[in-house]
């Protein structure tokens, strides 16, 4: 069953077409990967879905409900959460307080939110660092914290923008294991990723963007051998 339907979405910045007439469906419970060279419009597409940008044309429906024109906080309340490519921690408050802000999306009681936040920090292995101000965490932990905050809003669909970029191999493996755990808990994931190895092992299905247009869609093994994709990444002289 498709929970998110994107139809013919386009977003322009002046003369640049950042996202061009993109269609996509996200199935319940899957991990959908989104890849593409730099500047191919991945983050712009994310911003359109989460309400940070308003696309010029097309439609975005979540469980049949129109998402166009909703504010980012409205979309979060409907059950779609996201993380940012460049981490945006609430740097002056503690890691725990960061996650409490997320949990307050579903409750008005700070005490309830605190319990929820501690459960999530425990789940993500951050409990030992929860009293530190967010700015004092390492980049890997700040990325985890972003994930924790987003999860605290109890999303049905979670959009992750490059969670493993900048992590070392060990941290990457931990992060991937974590994402699978999140998938098992019943959250659908839509993941932008630059690290090919990571996305190939993680995703059930992959969509490839190039110059804002969708050029391929399919299982990771199909994508790896797709000539259009290889051309987009390496140039036409590498065609097999």
């Amino acid at each position: 069953m498709s929970i998110l339907e994107v139809r013919g979405v386009s977003k322009r910045f002046g003369g640049l077409v950042a996202v061009n007439n993109v269609d996509l469906d996200i199935e319940k419970g899957e991990i959908l990967g989104l890849i593409g060279p730099n500047g191919s419009g991945k983050t712009t597409l994310f911003n359109c879905i989460t309400g940070f940008y308003r696309p010029e044309s097309g439609s975005i429906r979540f469980h049949g409900e129109n998402f166009l024109g909703l504010t980012p906080h409205g979309i979060c309340v409907k059950g779609v959460a996201r993380t940012f490519q460049l981490v945006k921690p609430f740097s002056r408050i503690t890691a725990l307080d960061n996650v409490i802000v997320g949990a307050l999306c579903r409750t008005n009681s700070v005490e309830e939110a605190r319990l929820e936040a501690m459960t999530i920090l425990n789940f993500l292995g951050l409990s030992k660092k929860m009293t530190l101000p967010a700015r004092d965490l390492t980049i890997a932990d700040q990325k985890r914290l972003e994930l924790a905050r987003a999860l605290a809003t109890k999303p049905r669909l979670l959009l992750l923008d490059e969670v493993v970029a900048g992590l070392n191999p060990k941290e990457t493996d931990e992060a991937l294991a974590l994402l699978r755990k999140i998938q098992e808990s019943g959250v659908t994931l839509f993941v932008v990723e630059h690290v090919m190895k990571a996305i190939m092992t993680l995703a059930d299905r992959i969509i490839v963007l190039h110059h804002g247009s969708k050029i391929a869609e399919g299982a990771p093994s199909e994508i790896a051998t797709n000539t259009k994709v290889i051309e987009a990444y390496l140039g036409s002289e590498y065609r097999a």
Binding site: T50, P89, F90, S91, D97, V101, L104, A113, A150
Partner: protein, 354 residues
Amino acid sequence: MIVEVPGKISKLSSPKYYFALILVIITALLPLALNPFQVHVLVLVYLYAILAESWNIIGGYAGQGSFLNAAFFGITAYASSLLFILYGLSPWIGMFVGAFFSVLLALGAGYLCFRFGLKGHFFFLASIGITVAIQRVFINWYWPVNGDLVGGAYGIWVPVIKGDSFYHFQFRGKLPYYYIALAMLLAELYIAYRIQNSKFGYYFNAIRDDEDAAESLGVNTLKYKIIAFAISAALTAPAGTFYAQYFLFIDPFTVLTDMLSIEMVVVAVVGGMGTIFGPVIGAMILQPMMEYVRAFLGARRGLDLIITGFIIIVIATLRPRGFIKWFEDGYNYVVKQLPTMHLGGERKHVHSGS
């Protein structure tokens, strides 16, 4: 192992709480040992602490550098004074009317500024612009009283009544003002404490640190910024009425000036923005200093401001987060030396783990 199970009253058995209570009692008894000038200085300390504490809600917690707070102060000073002169209404009631108009102004100005995404320097400029516009309106606004005109650039003298009257908010001596200011400040601190530990406090801090991230976590940033502004306005209002009743004279150049907003910001920043006691500490440091410099070197106008400016530079270099940390450390040190008292709590035997 015997542990103390805290009951409602027995919270006070911890030095952290009873030492705070002792400080409040000392503050309450303090004026009995001071001369009137010293009491006057303390009244001003509390007044500025209230103003900075209110500014702290929008400027410190929510991170929106408002320069409009002087307008909330001035509007309330005018509202309570005018209602008293024109209709004989108690300034206490006028205070609430003033607070009502201040909140209305905060809602309107807040919506206009935040709806169109003004932040940082632009919000600062817009809020200063609105303050100046309101000041101009009051400079040119006269009210007829018994065939005479009051207000405008001349300002307003609050009519002096005979004797002390709580209803009219007028007293001969300074002591009643002292206790009213102290009570207002304590109420303000309590409200700030409640806000900090509520959903509002968390959302305000989130907005201050990163608006996009806050939005993505379901925080309606527009709504919560306006709420922070309205709370700040409502909390500033009582200080306006207090000022008018304490000095019995107001004019647009003293109660509606952007200088007043700057002072609120400076007090909060020196003490520690975004903390509950920071503004109080800022007021405790700056206000006596300015008053004494003014009293001793009165003829050389502006010297107090030069010295204040110098101290701000020193603070910006040494303590960018304000003096609050030193005071917190001092407080915690004293608390550690004090014994725990046994009051009303139950003692229970508990099996320890190992």
